[in-house]
């Protein structure tokens, strides 16, 4: 037809090749599978085995940056063992990688239960990890504690019965109420001409929880959410959402996208002239690597901080402060602290505490009961698993922080609003994101 034609390819040959290709792509996750790290220790009954499941590779890997460091810290802190159930015990930690895939999370949890015969499983980061891990533990009667997932997504996403909860699975983190308590005071402090809030919420578990949870709370507080619509993750163009936000004259912005999509959106928003006065984002900009990737556009984006070196918390294992933990992490890995550092550390504090409190740490029902009734003052602050919105959930109260140019690292966090948790010291003023 045109002389740009390059070659006599048959349609069938191309299509069959494409078909094969698609099949090959689908099989990729199987081929790239790999096992986890193994901790030290033997298999005698004095050894308590803790399985740890987290997304160490793939798009969620930012949450797991501190994993190896934390596992090492914990192993050092309890190297000489501890007494539980009248005997001296040591722990062995078996680490598994979900590759950021919820199916794989299920699979590795099963491995931990069936092949590694662990006594307790801890897991972290996003409902894609916490929910499949908790489901497996509940079904197999393994005591379990997870973190870094909104409790609603964890509880309702697993069909938890209100007032009853689960027998074996527990969680510490926070939910929509705490997001609201963290974001609303910052919004109130901004000088805005209207109460519209642009909301970028995709169609996934996290964002739907925000749509159904935070949306009504915003209305109650007098704000109008301008929902950009339930787009699919991995979208490359946000023109429609940006146009809608601009039309609404919203000067406040909130979102719950996956990190790569936020980078795309934020650049496009700048390009197409949507520059909100204050952006309070959730799920993204939690880690320095994201702040660095976004470059100058990072300045003064606000997000929720449930843990930072400034938090006045201490390890229950060896008394190490949050600041020390962050400094040790920086010294050992050369990397900047992340919030997951404190949370992952606490997972093990709680697990070890449950072992210590139980009459027989090998008795799964008893350890699970100790988890559900746990009150602990640890690296993540005071956690009370009996006082949460549902049984077996301990609530943290995140404070508002903004990304600013740092001294030692390119971007640093400054805590700008501590309304929800007065124990955390303020580090600076709240500034407009787009001045």
């Amino acid at each position: 037809m045109s002389d740009a034609s390059i070659g006599g390819m048959g349609r069938r040959s191309f299509l069959s090749a494409v078909g094969l290709g698609a099949a090959a792509l689908g099989g990729g996750s199987l081929l790239s599978a790999c096992g986890g790290l193994k901790g030290t220790g033997g298999s005698s009954s004095d050894v308590l085995k803790i399985g740890y499941v987290s997304p160490q590779t793939g798009p969620l890997a930012g949450f797991a940056t501190a994993d190896n460091f934390v596992v090492k810290q914990i192993q050092e802190a309890v190297r000489s063992g501890f007494t539980a159930g009248g005997k001296k015990r040591t722990i062995e930690i078996i680490v598994k990688d979900t590759q950021s895939n919820s199916n794989r999370a299920t699979e590795v949890t099963r491995q931990l239960i069936n092949s590694d015969k662990v006594d307790l499983i801890v897991g972290s980061s996003t409902p894609d990890t916490t929910n499949p891990v908790a489901d497996q533990c509940e079904a197999n009667g393994i005591p379990n504690v997870t973190t870094i997932a909104p409790w609603e997504a964890w509880f309702h996403g697993r069909n938890g019965k209100s007032g009853e909860g689960f027998k074996y699975t527990t969680l510490f983190f926070f939910g929509m109420r705490e997001f609201a308590d963290c974001f609303f005071p910052m919004w109130e402090r901004m000088d805005v001409s209207n109460k519209n809030v642009a909301a970028l919420w995709p169609n996934d578990t996290d964002a739907n929880a925000f749509r159904e949870g935070l949306g009504p709370m915003m209305k109650e507080a007098g704000y109008t959410p301008i929902d950009g619509g339930a787009y699919q993750n991995g979208t490359t163009d946000f023109s429609a959402q940006i146009a809608k936000f601009k039309e609404s004259d919203a000067e406040l912005f909130t979102c719950t996208p996956i990190p790569p999509d936020f980078q795309t959106f934020w650049k496009q928003a700048q390009q197409q002239g949507f520059r909100p006065k204050l952006a309070t984002v959730a799920k993204v900009m939690l880690f320095p690597s994201e702040a660095e990737a976004l470059g100058t556009l990072t300045d003064n984006i606000a997000t929720d901080f449930w843990w930072s070196p400034a938090h006045p918390y201490k390890s229950i294992l060896d008394g190490k402060s949050a600041q020390q933990l962050a400094d040790d992490f920086a010294a050992e890995t050369g990397k900047q602290w992340t919030q997951a550092l404190g949370s992952v550390y606490s997972l093990f504090e709680i697990a070890i505490q449950a072992f210590k409190e139980a009459g027989d740490p090998k008795d799964r029902d008893e350890v699970a009961a100790k988890l559900r009734g746990m009150k602990i003052s640890c690296m993540s602050g005071d956690l009370d698993f009996t006082a949460g919105p549902e049984p077996g959930i301990a609530i943290q109260h995140p404070v508002g922080g903004q990304w600013r140019k740092g001294e030692k690292f390119p971007w640093d966090v400054v805590i700008v609003d501590n309304t929800p948790n007065k124990a955390v010291p303020i580090g600076g003023d709240l500034r407009p994101t787009n001045g």
């Binding site: 034609s5 390059i6 390819m9 979208t235």
Partner: protein
């Protein structure tokens, strides 16, 4: 006005898809290689540029100018060293080789650069725009990508139709044995085709990287857009690839205007519709 904006933004996005699909179209057209590592190569180019920027401190545009020819050389070598050997064993072997390459690239990137999400910081160029009116702004980067896509396609078109090497390339793709008989070295010719394909995929990868972000696992999800653009536009036609990219971009953009949940689905549906009702694509190339 919202609809007009959607069409314009979709058109510009289509330019990016087309640029990205060109290499895939070219490699299939000339050698019948379905390059499953296409998306990953784009990501490799992005990481290479990132490493050059942070390693040498050169401005981004210099790095772009360096990366693209570097990738062309890499393409030539890949063809001669890796793909040529598998070509003689039939299409399945090359498919498996490129699939393997895809996995190797992803894992090497993961090992070297970790899973962190990165972007190329294009500064004010990447975020700047001019306004057509109050509700339509056109980004410099999007516009540049679109113009670049057209320029690349015109360039390849001219190369294929006007130069001796281009004619040899077309001859080799039509009938390799006969072309060899009359003096074309098909291995060299194939190398050239792969070099061009790699250069375009590097360019597309860099544009993608400035526009959004990338990590070692982004490749395969990008690949699907390139496949769709090639199939929608019509196999074997470079202009078809441009049209295919634009149709895909505009469809996605219009889909998101109706309901953001439809964005990607709308593109896939058009792809399916083309396969079902006009399998030769919107602009049919020469068929065998």
């Amino acid at each position: 006005m919202g609809w007009l904006n959607a069409v314009i933004q979709g058109l510009l996005l289509g330019g990016l898809y087309a640029l990205f699909a060109t290499g895939l179209s070219l490699m299939f057209g000339v050698m019948r290689i379905v390059n499953l590592a296409h998306g990953d190569l784009a990501v490799v180019a992005s990481f290479l540029a990132l490493a050059l920027v942070s390693g040498t401190g050169l401005p981004l545009w210099v790095v772009l100018v360096v990366t693209v020819p570097l990738f062309a050389v890499l393409g030539y070598l890949t063809q001669r060293v890796l793909l040529q050997r598998s070509l003689s064993s039939g299409p399945l072997a090359t498919l498996l080789v490129t699939f393997g390459l895809s996995i190797v690239l992803q894992n090497v990137l993961l090992e070297v650069f970790s899973a962190d999400t990165r972007t190329l910081d294009g500064g004010s160029f990447a975020t700047g725009s001019f306004e057509l009116n109050g509700s339509i702004s056109i980004g410099y980067l999007s516009l540049a990508t679109f113009v670049l896509a057209c320029a690349v396609l015109v360039g390849i078109q001219l190369f294929l139709s006007r130069t001796g090497l281009g004619r040899m390339l077309r001859a080799s793709s039509d009938d390799r044995e006969t072309a060899n008989l009359v003096g074309a070295d098909s291995r060299h010719v194939y190398g050239i085709a792969t070099a061009i394909a790699f250069a375009t995929v590097a360019l597309a990868g860099l544009m993608f990287a400035m526009r959004s972000s990338f990590d070692p696992a982004t490749g395969p999800s990008r690949l699907i857009f390139a496949f769709e653009a090639v199939v929608i536009g019509g196999l074997g036609s470079l202009w078809g690839t441009l049209i295919g990219g634009i149709v895909l971009g505009v469809t996605q953009s219009l889909g998101s205007q109706i309901d953001p949940a439809l964005t990607l689905l709308a593109g896939h549906l058009v792809f399916l519709a083309v396969l079902a009702f006009r399998p030769q694509g919107l602009i049919a190339g020469r068929t065998a």
